[in-house]
Symmetry: C2
């Protein structure tokens, strides 16, 4: 493991064990078996260090292959998200989310530096459908793209993981697709 | 403060400080300044005690007054939810959510006993709109009723509180209302 990975893992471990308020450069350095000077050379404070660790713990989120099938691609993005939150590989993401919930002041400070990692692939899936003429261009907003990922993340946070496959199907068939059909229809 | 309230507050305090795994009947008893026997007389184990404390920390959620205006009532429910998560009065709810995220095994155990407190008022608002003929009866499902509350709770958990009023307006105007319009429209 490279030193940088060891440092990021140490940050997440310290966060999970002690929380943000009690996290110290000393604690991270000793957990990563390096010196405090090494940390300060790269990160001026624990805020930068934590933001950087969060960014590196985000899953790699490429959009699914272009299948020409909107429903299939929506499901693929949500399945990828559900997988990224589950099991040992999702521990870092869950720990980060717990820390954000537990420490609203941390959420306010680090949030501007963090994006929903599933927003970009979702926007790409919607963009393809708009190009095919299946959904209106008005549907291409971050708020609408975030609906599926938000509901799946909320389910994982409140109900625990794994998110059952039938929940993903329900979110796509009963929420995201009807929403996309309803956009642009005049209010009655 | 009644003894039962003191015990519930002690449970939430112990959870926030030590987490579910480390929570003990002893710790709760001493924090609530009562005896362990008193606890065991009512709650056979810490699971029952925690579930009960969670239930009592849930906000009182009556549906908004029947105004005949769907958009206004949707906003009222989400505003109530946002308020219930904010400030000192929302601390118990936030602490509970943090604990669920941090401890997926706790989420799995207590979730069947806990309901989204804003589902019932949201269902009532949708029911009134269906009776007025404004939305299809097919919209009266828990999954659809939960969309607004889920997105608002997710926003509070990830971005911190308070949830800005313009976010509530966006959720209603750009997500919930278009979704309700799109339900029942044949897939194109």
């Amino acid at each position: 493991m490279e030193l940088q990975d060891a440092i990021h893992q140490a940050v997440l471990g310290e966060l999970q064990e002690h929380g943000y308020a009690a996290l110290s450069m000393d604690g991270v350095a000793s957990r990563a078996q390096t010196g405090k000077a090494t940390l300060y050379r790269r990160w001026p404070s624990k805020l930068e260090l934590v933001v950087d660790a969060f960014k590196h713990s985000a899953p790699d989120t490429k959009p699914p292959a272009d299948s020409g099938d909107l429903r299939e691609e929506l499901l693929a993005v949500l399945r990828h998200e559900a997988d990224s939150l589950d099991g040992a590989s999702g521990a870092a993401a869950r720990g980060l989310m717990a820390e954000l919930v537990r420490t609203p002041e941390l959420a306010r400070v680090v949030r501007p530096f963090l994006a929903d990692p599933f927003l970009a692939p979702m926007m790409e899936v919607l963009r393809r459908a708009a190009v095919r003429g299946e959904i209106p261009v008005a549907a291409l907003t971050p708020r609408i793209a975030a609906v599926g990922p938000d509901i799946v993340r909320q389910h994982a946070m409140i109900n625990g993981t794994p998110v059952p496959p039938e929940v993903l199907v329900e979110v796509v068939d009963d929420v995201v697709l009807p929403l996309l059909r309803g956009i642009g229809i005049a209010r009655t």
